[in-house]
Protein backbone atom coordinates (compact mmCIF):
# COMPACT_ATOMS: atom_id res chain seq x y z
CA UNK A 1 0.00 0.00 0.00
CA UNK A 2 2.74 2.35 1.05
CA UNK A 3 4.58 1.65 -2.17
CA UNK A 4 1.42 2.44 -4.21
CA UNK A 5 1.14 5.84 -2.58
CA UNK A 6 4.81 6.43 -3.16
CA UNK A 7 4.46 5.39 -6.77
CA UNK A 8 1.51 7.75 -7.28
CA UNK A 9 3.42 10.53 -5.56
CA UNK A 10 6.44 9.86 -7.71
CA UNK A 11 4.34 9.72 -10.88
CA UNK A 12 2.68 12.99 -9.90
CA UNK A 13 5.93 14.73 -9.09
CA UNK A 14 7.38 13.65 -12.42
CA UNK A 15 4.22 14.83 -14.17
CA UNK A 16 4.40 18.20 -12.44
CA UNK A 17 8.14 18.43 -12.65
CA UNK A 18 8.63 17.65 -16.29
CA UNK A 19 7.55 20.90 -17.90
CA UNK A 20 9.57 22.89 -15.37
CA UNK A 21 12.80 21.13 -16.16
CA UNK A 22 12.22 21.40 -19.89
CA UNK A 23 11.84 25.19 -19.88
CA UNK A 24 14.55 27.10 -21.62
CA UNK A 25 14.58 30.43 -19.94
CA UNK A 26 10.99 31.51 -19.37
CA UNK A 27 11.32 30.85 -15.61
CA UNK A 28 13.78 33.77 -15.59
CA UNK A 29 11.12 36.26 -16.68
CA UNK A 30 10.04 38.76 -14.06
CA UNK A 31 7.01 40.95 -14.69
CA UNK A 32 7.05 44.41 -13.15
CA UNK A 33 4.68 47.39 -13.03
CA UNK A 34 1.69 45.62 -14.56
CA UNK A 35 -1.39 47.82 -14.86
CA UNK A 36 -4.47 48.36 -16.97
CA UNK A 37 -7.08 51.07 -17.38
CA UNK A 38 -10.65 50.61 -16.31
CA UNK A 39 -13.06 50.13 -19.23
CA UNK A 40 -16.46 51.59 -19.92
CA UNK A 41 -18.60 48.59 -20.53
CA UNK A 42 -17.33 45.76 -22.73
CA UNK A 43 -17.83 47.15 -26.22
CA UNK A 44 -14.40 48.64 -26.67
CA UNK A 45 -11.03 46.92 -26.25
CA UNK A 46 -8.98 47.39 -23.11
CA UNK A 47 -5.21 47.65 -22.78
CA UNK A 48 -2.72 46.36 -20.23
CA UNK A 49 0.88 47.39 -19.72
CA UNK A 50 3.90 45.89 -17.95
CA UNK A 51 7.65 45.45 -18.10
CA UNK A 52 9.05 42.00 -18.88
CA UNK A 53 12.54 41.54 -17.46
CA UNK A 54 14.68 38.61 -18.48
CA UNK A 55 17.01 37.81 -15.57
CA UNK A 56 18.42 34.74 -17.32
CA UNK A 57 21.18 34.10 -19.80
CA UNK A 58 19.02 33.02 -22.75
CA UNK A 59 16.63 35.08 -24.85
CA UNK A 60 12.98 34.30 -24.11
CA UNK A 61 10.10 34.67 -26.56
CA UNK A 62 6.55 35.54 -25.55
CA UNK A 63 4.18 33.96 -28.05
CA UNK A 64 0.67 34.28 -26.69
CA UNK A 65 -1.58 35.85 -24.09
CA UNK A 66 -4.59 34.31 -22.39
CA UNK A 67 -7.09 35.78 -19.98
CA UNK A 68 -10.65 34.99 -18.91
CA UNK A 69 -11.27 38.74 -19.24
CA UNK A 70 -11.01 38.89 -23.03
CA UNK A 71 -11.64 36.38 -25.81
CA UNK A 72 -8.96 37.89 -28.03
CA UNK A 73 -5.93 39.22 -26.17
CA UNK A 74 -3.05 40.13 -28.42
CA UNK A 75 0.05 42.27 -28.29
CA UNK A 76 -0.31 45.36 -30.41
CA UNK A 77 2.07 48.19 -31.08
CA UNK A 78 1.44 51.85 -31.73
CA UNK A 79 3.78 53.46 -34.23
CA UNK A 80 4.01 57.18 -34.84
CA UNK A 81 5.63 58.39 -38.06
CA UNK A 82 7.59 61.59 -38.73
CA UNK A 83 4.36 63.44 -39.57
CA UNK A 84 2.83 62.58 -36.22
CA UNK A 85 0.47 59.98 -37.65
CA UNK A 86 -0.08 57.11 -35.23
CA UNK A 87 -1.39 53.69 -36.14
CA UNK A 88 -1.61 50.35 -34.42
CA UNK A 89 -1.15 46.73 -35.38
CA UNK A 90 -0.36 43.28 -33.96
CA UNK A 91 3.31 42.59 -33.27
CA UNK A 92 3.24 38.79 -33.09
CA UNK A 93 5.98 37.40 -30.86
CA UNK A 94 8.20 39.43 -28.58
CA UNK A 95 11.71 38.28 -27.78
CA UNK A 96 13.23 39.53 -24.55
CA UNK A 97 17.03 39.38 -24.86
CA UNK A 98 19.04 37.88 -22.00
CA UNK A 99 19.52 40.35 -19.16
CA UNK A 100 17.26 42.94 -20.78
CA UNK A 101 13.76 44.32 -20.36
CA UNK A 102 10.94 44.94 -22.80
CA UNK A 103 8.36 47.51 -21.80
CA UNK A 104 4.72 47.45 -22.75
CA UNK A 105 3.83 51.08 -22.19
CA UNK A 106 1.48 53.78 -23.54
CA UNK A 107 2.45 54.80 -27.06
CA UNK A 108 4.49 51.65 -27.61
CA UNK A 109 3.37 48.07 -27.15
CA UNK A 110 0.35 47.03 -25.15
CA UNK A 111 -1.63 43.91 -24.39
CA UNK A 112 -4.74 44.67 -26.41
CA UNK A 113 -7.71 43.04 -24.72
CA UNK A 114 -10.29 42.52 -27.43
CA UNK A 115 -13.78 41.11 -26.96
CA UNK A 116 -13.98 41.85 -23.26
CA UNK A 117 -16.14 39.38 -21.36
CA UNK A 118 -16.57 41.58 -18.33
CA UNK A 119 -16.15 45.25 -17.56
CA UNK A 120 -12.73 46.24 -16.23
CA UNK A 121 -13.48 47.78 -12.85
CA UNK A 122 -11.08 50.15 -11.08
CA UNK A 123 -9.61 48.54 -7.95
CA UNK A 124 -10.01 44.98 -9.22
CA UNK A 125 -7.37 42.73 -10.76
CA UNK A 126 -7.47 40.14 -13.52
CA UNK A 127 -5.18 37.22 -14.38
CA UNK A 128 -3.20 37.48 -17.60
CA UNK A 129 -1.31 34.38 -18.65
CA UNK A 130 1.85 34.78 -20.70
CA UNK A 131 2.73 31.75 -22.83
CA UNK A 132 6.36 31.48 -23.85
CA UNK A 133 7.96 29.70 -26.80
CA UNK A 134 9.66 27.17 -24.51
CA UNK A 135 6.29 26.00 -23.18
CA UNK A 136 6.59 27.86 -19.89
CA UNK A 137 3.81 30.10 -18.68
CA UNK A 138 3.54 32.92 -16.20
CA UNK A 139 0.29 34.28 -14.81
CA UNK A 140 0.29 37.92 -13.80
CA UNK A 141 -2.37 39.52 -11.66
CA UNK A 142 -2.91 42.87 -13.36
CA UNK A 143 -4.32 45.68 -11.21
CA UNK A 144 -7.00 47.79 -12.89
CA UNK A 145 -6.44 51.50 -12.30
CA UNK A 146 -8.70 54.45 -13.12
CA UNK A 147 -9.68 55.15 -16.71
CA UNK A 148 -7.47 58.26 -16.77
CA UNK A 149 -4.42 56.49 -15.29
CA UNK A 150 -1.17 57.51 -16.95
CA UNK A 151 1.13 54.81 -15.55
CA UNK A 152 1.50 52.05 -12.97
CA UNK A 153 1.35 54.70 -10.22
CA UNK A 154 -2.07 55.84 -11.38
Amino acid sequence: MKSTVAAIALAFSVFVGLPTTSFAGSEDIVVEDAWARASIGINRPGAAYMTLRNTGTDPVTLVELETPLAMMPDIHETKTDANGVSSMGPVGEITIPAGESVALEPGGMHAMLMRLQTKMVEGETFPLRLNFADGGTLTVDVPILGIAARGPEG
Binding site: T78, T80, S86, M88, H110, M112, M114, I147
Partner: protein
Amino acid sequence: MRLSALQKVLWGLAAIAIVGFVWLQVSTRVEQRAYEPAFRADFELTDHNGMVQTDEYLAGRWMLVFFGFANCPDVCPTTLAEVAAVMDGLGSDATQVQPLFISIDPERDTPQALAEFIPYFDANIIGLTGTADQIERTSKTFRIYYEKIEEAASPDGYTMGHSSQLFLFDPQGGYVGAWTYGTPAEEILADLKARMSI
Protein backbone atom coordinates in the same frame (compact mmCIF):
# COMPACT_ATOMS: atom_id res chain seq x y z
CA MET B 1 0.35 119.04 -73.82
CA ARG B 2 -1.00 121.73 -71.57
CA LEU B 3 -2.98 120.73 -68.52
CA SER B 4 -5.65 122.88 -66.99
CA ALA B 5 -5.44 123.64 -63.29
CA LEU B 6 -8.23 121.15 -62.63
CA GLN B 7 -6.38 118.41 -64.56
CA LYS B 8 -3.20 119.09 -62.54
CA VAL B 9 -5.12 118.71 -59.30
CA LEU B 10 -6.77 115.49 -60.50
CA TRP B 11 -3.44 113.99 -61.60
CA GLY B 12 -1.94 115.00 -58.29
CA LEU B 13 -4.76 113.29 -56.37
CA ALA B 14 -4.43 110.19 -58.52
CA ALA B 15 -0.70 110.02 -57.74
CA ILE B 16 -1.38 110.37 -54.03
CA ALA B 17 -4.04 107.67 -54.25
CA ILE B 18 -1.64 105.28 -56.01
CA VAL B 19 1.15 105.90 -53.50
CA GLY B 20 -1.33 105.52 -50.64
CA PHE B 21 -2.76 102.32 -52.09
CA VAL B 22 0.67 100.77 -52.56
CA TRP B 23 1.74 101.81 -49.07
CA LEU B 24 -1.38 100.29 -47.54
CA GLN B 25 -0.86 97.06 -49.45
CA VAL B 26 2.74 96.77 -48.33
CA SER B 27 2.03 97.67 -44.71
CA THR B 28 -0.90 95.26 -44.34
CA ARG B 29 1.09 92.49 -45.94
CA VAL B 30 3.88 92.98 -43.42
CA GLU B 31 1.31 93.00 -40.65
CA GLN B 32 -0.23 89.79 -41.96
CA ARG B 33 3.13 88.08 -41.97
CA ALA B 34 3.72 88.99 -38.36
CA TYR B 35 0.30 88.12 -36.96
CA GLU B 36 -1.64 85.91 -39.34
CA PRO B 37 -1.69 82.31 -38.04
CA ALA B 38 -0.92 79.48 -40.46
CA PHE B 39 -4.57 78.42 -40.31
CA ARG B 40 -7.67 78.76 -38.20
CA ALA B 41 -9.81 76.21 -36.40
CA ASP B 42 -12.87 75.73 -38.61
CA PHE B 43 -15.53 73.09 -37.97
CA GLU B 44 -19.18 72.33 -37.50
CA LEU B 45 -19.69 69.07 -35.62
CA THR B 46 -21.98 67.41 -33.08
CA ASP B 47 -20.79 67.11 -29.49
CA HIS B 48 -21.27 64.13 -27.17
CA ASN B 49 -24.45 65.71 -25.80
CA GLY B 50 -25.94 65.92 -29.28
CA MET B 51 -25.44 69.70 -29.57
CA VAL B 52 -23.99 71.32 -32.68
CA GLN B 53 -20.67 73.01 -31.94
CA THR B 54 -18.69 75.31 -34.22
CA ASP B 55 -15.43 77.21 -33.91
CA GLU B 56 -17.52 80.40 -33.62
CA TYR B 57 -19.50 79.07 -30.62
CA LEU B 58 -16.30 78.12 -28.83
CA ALA B 59 -14.32 81.28 -29.68
CA GLY B 60 -13.02 83.33 -26.77
CA ARG B 61 -11.21 80.44 -25.14
CA TRP B 62 -7.94 78.74 -25.94
CA MET B 63 -8.59 75.39 -27.59
CA LEU B 64 -6.65 72.14 -27.12
CA VAL B 65 -7.65 69.93 -30.05
CA PHE B 66 -6.77 66.31 -30.70
CA PHE B 67 -8.09 63.57 -32.96
CA GLY B 68 -8.86 59.96 -32.17
CA PHE B 69 -11.47 57.25 -31.93
CA ALA B 70 -13.24 55.59 -29.04
CA ASN B 71 -12.10 52.05 -30.01
CA CYS B 72 -8.49 53.10 -29.64
CA PRO B 73 -7.18 51.48 -26.45
CA ASP B 74 -3.75 53.08 -26.24
CA VAL B 75 -2.99 56.46 -27.81
CA CYS B 76 -6.44 58.02 -27.33
CA PRO B 77 -6.99 57.22 -23.63
CA THR B 78 -3.38 58.22 -23.01
CA THR B 79 -3.87 61.61 -24.69
CA LEU B 80 -7.23 62.09 -22.96
CA ALA B 81 -5.54 61.32 -19.62
CA GLU B 82 -2.70 63.75 -20.42
CA VAL B 83 -5.16 66.49 -21.35
CA ALA B 84 -7.16 65.80 -18.18
CA ALA B 85 -3.92 66.20 -16.19
CA VAL B 86 -3.15 69.49 -18.01
CA MET B 87 -6.67 70.79 -17.23
CA ASP B 88 -6.19 69.76 -13.61
CA GLY B 89 -2.88 71.60 -13.48
CA LEU B 90 -4.45 74.80 -14.81
CA GLY B 91 -6.58 75.11 -11.69
CA SER B 92 -8.90 78.11 -11.89
CA ASP B 93 -7.41 79.08 -15.29
CA ALA B 94 -8.96 75.93 -16.78
CA THR B 95 -12.06 77.99 -17.61
CA GLN B 96 -9.97 79.78 -20.26
CA VAL B 97 -9.20 76.52 -22.06
CA GLN B 98 -11.55 74.27 -24.03
CA PRO B 99 -10.25 70.77 -24.79
CA LEU B 100 -11.81 69.08 -27.86
CA PHE B 101 -11.57 65.43 -28.86
CA ILE B 102 -12.56 65.07 -32.53
CA SER B 103 -13.42 61.58 -33.75
CA ILE B 104 -11.96 60.38 -37.04
CA ASP B 105 -14.09 57.21 -36.86
CA PRO B 106 -17.60 58.53 -37.59
CA GLU B 107 -18.74 55.02 -38.52
CA ARG B 108 -18.56 53.85 -34.89
CA ASP B 109 -18.34 57.08 -32.91
CA THR B 110 -21.88 58.35 -32.58
CA PRO B 111 -22.43 61.20 -30.09
CA GLN B 112 -23.78 58.56 -27.70
CA ALA B 113 -20.65 56.40 -28.06
CA LEU B 114 -18.53 59.46 -27.23
CA ALA B 115 -20.80 60.30 -24.27
CA GLU B 116 -19.94 56.90 -22.77
CA PHE B 117 -16.25 57.55 -23.13
CA ILE B 118 -15.08 61.18 -23.06
CA PRO B 119 -16.59 62.53 -19.80
CA TYR B 120 -14.82 59.83 -17.74
CA PHE B 121 -11.50 61.57 -18.32
CA ASP B 122 -12.45 65.16 -17.59
CA ALA B 123 -15.88 66.73 -17.48
CA ASN B 124 -14.61 69.70 -19.51
CA ILE B 125 -13.48 67.73 -22.55
CA ILE B 126 -15.97 67.95 -25.41
CA GLY B 127 -16.13 64.96 -27.75
CA LEU B 128 -17.05 65.88 -31.32
CA THR B 129 -18.20 63.72 -34.19
CA GLY B 130 -20.21 64.07 -37.37
CA THR B 131 -20.98 62.51 -40.71
CA ALA B 132 -18.15 61.03 -42.75
CA ASP B 133 -18.31 64.19 -44.90
CA GLN B 134 -18.11 66.54 -41.91
CA ILE B 135 -15.12 64.65 -40.50
CA GLU B 136 -13.36 64.75 -43.85
CA ARG B 137 -13.93 68.49 -44.15
CA THR B 138 -12.70 68.98 -40.57
CA SER B 139 -9.53 66.99 -41.30
CA LYS B 140 -8.82 69.32 -44.22
CA THR B 141 -9.31 72.54 -42.27
CA PHE B 142 -7.15 71.17 -39.44
CA ARG B 143 -4.63 69.77 -41.92
CA ILE B 144 -4.57 66.40 -40.23
CA TYR B 145 -4.33 62.91 -41.69
CA TYR B 146 -6.42 59.85 -40.94
CA GLU B 147 -7.04 56.53 -42.63
CA LYS B 148 -9.01 53.37 -42.12
CA ILE B 149 -6.69 50.37 -41.90
CA GLU B 150 -8.17 46.93 -42.63
CA GLU B 151 -6.80 44.73 -39.88
CA ALA B 152 -8.33 41.33 -39.21
CA ALA B 153 -6.91 41.24 -35.68
CA SER B 154 -8.77 44.41 -34.66
CA PRO B 155 -12.33 44.87 -33.39
CA ASP B 156 -14.77 45.07 -36.37
CA GLY B 157 -11.84 44.21 -38.67
CA TYR B 158 -10.35 47.67 -38.84
CA THR B 159 -8.36 50.23 -36.95
CA MET B 160 -7.67 53.90 -37.64
CA GLY B 161 -4.36 55.61 -38.24
CA HIS B 162 -4.44 59.32 -37.42
CA SER B 163 -2.44 62.43 -36.56
CA SER B 164 -1.81 62.17 -32.85
CA GLN B 165 -0.53 65.64 -32.01
CA LEU B 166 -2.24 67.93 -29.52
CA PHE B 167 -2.99 71.25 -31.26
CA LEU B 168 -3.26 74.62 -29.54
CA PHE B 169 -5.46 77.44 -30.89
CA ASP B 170 -5.69 80.96 -29.47
CA PRO B 171 -9.00 82.52 -28.36
CA GLN B 172 -9.52 83.85 -31.92
CA GLY B 173 -9.18 80.32 -33.33
CA GLY B 174 -5.69 80.90 -34.76
CA TYR B 175 -3.28 77.98 -34.81
CA VAL B 176 -0.49 78.47 -32.27
CA GLY B 177 1.40 75.18 -32.29
CA ALA B 178 1.28 71.46 -31.55
CA TRP B 179 2.82 68.99 -29.15
CA THR B 180 3.76 65.56 -30.45
CA TYR B 181 2.14 62.49 -28.92
CA GLY B 182 3.95 61.42 -25.79
CA THR B 183 4.87 64.92 -24.57
CA PRO B 184 4.44 64.70 -20.78
CA ALA B 185 1.47 66.61 -19.35
CA GLU B 186 3.81 68.63 -17.11
CA GLU B 187 5.71 69.93 -20.13
CA ILE B 188 2.50 70.77 -22.01
CA LEU B 189 1.16 72.58 -18.94
CA ALA B 190 4.28 74.73 -18.51
CA ASP B 191 4.35 75.58 -22.23
CA LEU B 192 0.63 76.34 -22.31
CA LYS B 193 0.85 78.62 -19.27
CA ALA B 194 3.73 80.52 -20.89
CA ARG B 195 1.75 81.03 -24.10
CA MET B 196 -1.34 82.11 -22.20
CA SER B 197 0.84 84.40 -20.02
CA ILE B 198 -0.64 83.05 -16.79
